[in-house]
Assembly symmetry: C2
Homo-oligomer: 194 residues x 2
């Protein structure tokens, strides 16, 4: 399958997840969101689970792109991370966190999902830990354990996700807490970055 066809299916999966959630997602509904037939979709993916596994891989790559930061400034890299996590990529993304939480709740039943989620967690923690380590080394940040800070920041994003879906609260509330935590742990106040 060429990249264009694959991207079309992944974007259709995203839209169908936003509209129907995970439990009510079917191959037919994903096909309906593309120019393809359901049998054309089955040609590439045997089952909904297989397609969702590819979708999670796509999601990890998309996150990578959004984290990517050419800047050598560790403060900008942390700021970019927080934006990638807390800023919605588009106005129609409102229901995606709901579908994503459903998928996370399925991880115990689908080892393939779990592996993708573990890879995403590893990647997110690595991005934060590397920015913290560089910032401490360059004297921008106070001394701190980069792995511990990274684990805390990433775990808080999961808490923010849970609060958003289960309590209906804006993730901005948690973002402020994380910024306050970074400020006291590193002397890093993201608001001050231009």
């Amino acid at each position: 399958m060429d990249t264009e066809a694959s991207d079309e299916i992944m974007q259709a999966t995203y839209r169908a997840l936003c509209e129907y959630g995970y439990a009510d997602l079917t191959m037919q509904r994903i096909a309906d969101a593309t120019e393809k037939s359901k049998s054309a979709l089955h040609y590439h993916y045997d089952t909904k689970e297989e397609l969702l596994d590819a979708f999670l891989e796509y999601l990890v790559e998309d996150f990578e792109r959004r984290f990517a930061c050419e800047s050598a400034d560790p403060r900008e890299r942390l700021e970019k991370f927080l934006s990638a996590v807390y800023d919605s990529p588009d106005d129609n993304a409102g229901d995606f966190p709901v579908a994503l939480l459903e998928i996370k709740a399925q991880a115990p039943y689908h080892e393939a999902y779990r592996e993708r989620l573990v890879a995403l967690d590893d990647r997110m923690r690595a991005v934060v830990a590397s920015a913290v380590a560089d910032g401490v080394e360059a004297g921008h940040f106070d001394g701190a354990d980069p792995e511990e800070v990274a684990r805390f920041v990433v775990t808080a994003t999961y808490g923010a996700h849970m609060r958003e879906v289960s309590l209906g609260e804006s993730p901005e509330q948690t973002r402020k807490l994380v910024e306050s935590y970074l400020d006291s742990a590193l002397g890093f106040a993201p608001e001050a970055v231009a």
Copy 2:
């Protein structure tokens, strides 16, 4: 319905959730976990959703009991909170976090569930904030905003729950982070409490 009958149904619901998860939970399966028939169950609860709403109320009350701490010592009250959240109530509880995450993912579709989860969040934050405020006032803790500390501690428990279910990680990892956070925010090291 008397308390004993109600408790029997709630404990059966807990066991059935651990065994089947939320999606595959049925009134029949809950009835099978009691001495009652399915129609006896329907006499009290019209639908699975109604029974689950009662179950969440029961869960909030159970949490209240486990948080309850007669001690005047704010350090003991925080320690008790962490135990209530992070220590498993029994050896068979292994699959309950999975079912609970499924229920949380359902909150956007069931306003009654959301109200219970918001009440539980309020209650948890109030317990932590009150212990922090008393500890600051009594000079046991460094000065800190009790509401902010409470929000951080409770949000981290959600992150721990998500990591446990979706990544298969022990919640003890997050508990250590929270203890380290409390140590730097309050000068409170739970390990040091007898």
